[in-house]
């Protein structure tokens, strides 16, 4: 599972890992925005790629795996690049491809160097609604659990699937709907179980947290330097 690996990476230690989540988030946004507003040419992505690759090296993350994982955006981008190419704008197509790939790599670097709970609490202190953050936290926690359940159901069904030669589509559709309903029922009763477990440990509606992150001077320097580099990369990209 893709995200399990990323999650493990996010718990390593490095210069980048120890930075405050907010600082990293701001720098990532600055990079993304600077890249998005750079001219529509594949060359634009180069200075940004350089920065992000430096970041990956600084975070001591496995370069090849990172590059491979960010490639998830490529199929979609490639399709549109071809469209642009067909429309007589090969450069615009290439730019789309290069820029969206570097953007994905930037986001991947952010999540691979920041444990998810810290990222979420960082987003909260940057103004994301609390309810949304709590929800995303639970979502992420149970994503694995429920996906595994769905996986099991799929396996169980495929054991009894046969060849499909005489399968009625209506029946298969109904079976899928049934599987969805069972998955829902399990999720629902799991949610009830979680609510009970929370109540049993004194939960009355207010989430308290252990995390009290402080934004130290290094984080400030990092955020400023990161933003400055983003602007610089943008300026470099604008040079003809």
């Amino acid at each position: 599972m893709h995200h399990v690996v990323v999650e493990q990476w996010s718990r390593r230690r490095s210069f980048l890992h120890v930075r405050d989540a907010r600082a990293k988030l701001l720098v990532a946004l600055a990079l993304l925005a600077a890249l998005a507003t750079a001219p529509a040419s594949p060359i634009s992505a180069v200075p940004f790629a350089f920065l992000v690759l430096t970041g990956i090296a600084a975070a001591r993350l496995p370069m090849a795996s990172m590059l491979r994982k960010a490639a998830v955006v490529l199929p979609f981008s490639l399709l549109f690049a071809l469209v642009e190419w067909a429309a007589g704008q090969p450069m615009a197509g290439m730019a789309l491809l290069a820029k969206s790939y570097v953007s994905a790599l930037t986001v991947l670097l952010l999540v691979a160097s920041t444990p998810q709970p810290l990222l979420l609490s960082g987003m909260e202190s940057l103004g994301a609604p609390r309810l949304l953050v709590l929800m995303a936290q639970t979502l992420y926690r149970y994503l694995f659990v429920i996906s595994e359940q769905a996986q099991h159901m799929r396996l169980a069904a495929s054991c009894r699937q046969g060849s499909g030669a005489r399968r009625s589509r209506a029946r298969a559709f109904q079976a899928a709907a049934g599987a969805l309903a069972i998955l829902f029922a399990r999720s629902y009763s799991r949610a009830e179980g979680i609510q009970r477990a929370m109540a049993a440990r004194g939960f009355t509606g207010d989430f308290h947290s252990l995390q009290r992150r402080s934004f130290n001077s290094r984080d400030t320097v990092f955020a400023c330097a990161g933003a400055a580099l983003a602007v610089l990369a943008h300026l470099v990209a604008r040079r003809p």
Binding site: K69, V111, Q116, L131, A172, A176, G178, L180, A191
Partner: protein
Amino acid sequence: MHIPDNFLSTRVWLTLDGVAAPAVAWVARRAHKGLDEARIPLLGVLGAFVFAAQMVNFPVGVGTSAHLVGGALLTAILGPAPAALVMTAIIATQAFVFQDGGVLALGANVFNMALAGVLAAWVPLRLFSGRRRVSLFLAGFLSVAMSAGLALAELTISGIRMPPRLLALSAGLFAIGAIVEGMITLAAVRAIERLNPRWIGPAPANGSRAWAAIAFAAVLVVVVGLFAASGAPDGVMQIGQWADLHARPVWAAPMADYSLPAGPLWLRRPAAAMLGLGLVGGSAVAASYFLLRRRSS
């Protein structure tokens, strides 16, 4: 339907981020008000459920399969505001954790799928609450049609120049996707009801039909308009020119000292067109939403 970064022009993503952020904040407040605190885990777990549900394949056509998108199902189960919030959490998780959809484009994706999509699902659930099957099918259909249509329009307006035939083809594919979502939503809700009818709350039955009809018409206009436009991209540009006239004053104030490069000339008009379309569609739908709520409470 998850738009990655760098596909939308700066003004489009900036505008939609600007629209989505306060809208999500408002939806969160609204969802929180009607929410028993103890149900917070339920929302998160259902988000994970929708995620996992995408592993369940529904056979459609020869050798292909589709999966649930989920906006309409969540709306039927949770009501509009919590459903929109859960969808927002899903889309954000997809963007950050799976690099599926951009981060700058988060506002656009949230707007398309979590806000407009859920709204489009909610209106038929409300309007045809007496006729479960019709309303559930329409909810699934409209939510996906709305999201996909918006995404297509945003891309077009951002200057991704799709040949008309390709545009029509993708519009056709999206239409099929919308029909399939309608079927899946219907089948899934009925299967869930069979397990335990209490899980799916009774559809809200009250409220003036006239207002619901207006809201429905607004959704239909936007959806049909988007699809018609995608069949004839020149039409979008026409709307753009029209909207440009009206939108320019709105743009002028906040963007007067907008220091980022304004982009090539040809980009400006489409961006304004996006704004115009968003304003027209958004305000029509939002107005009917408010009115509906007022009438029902």
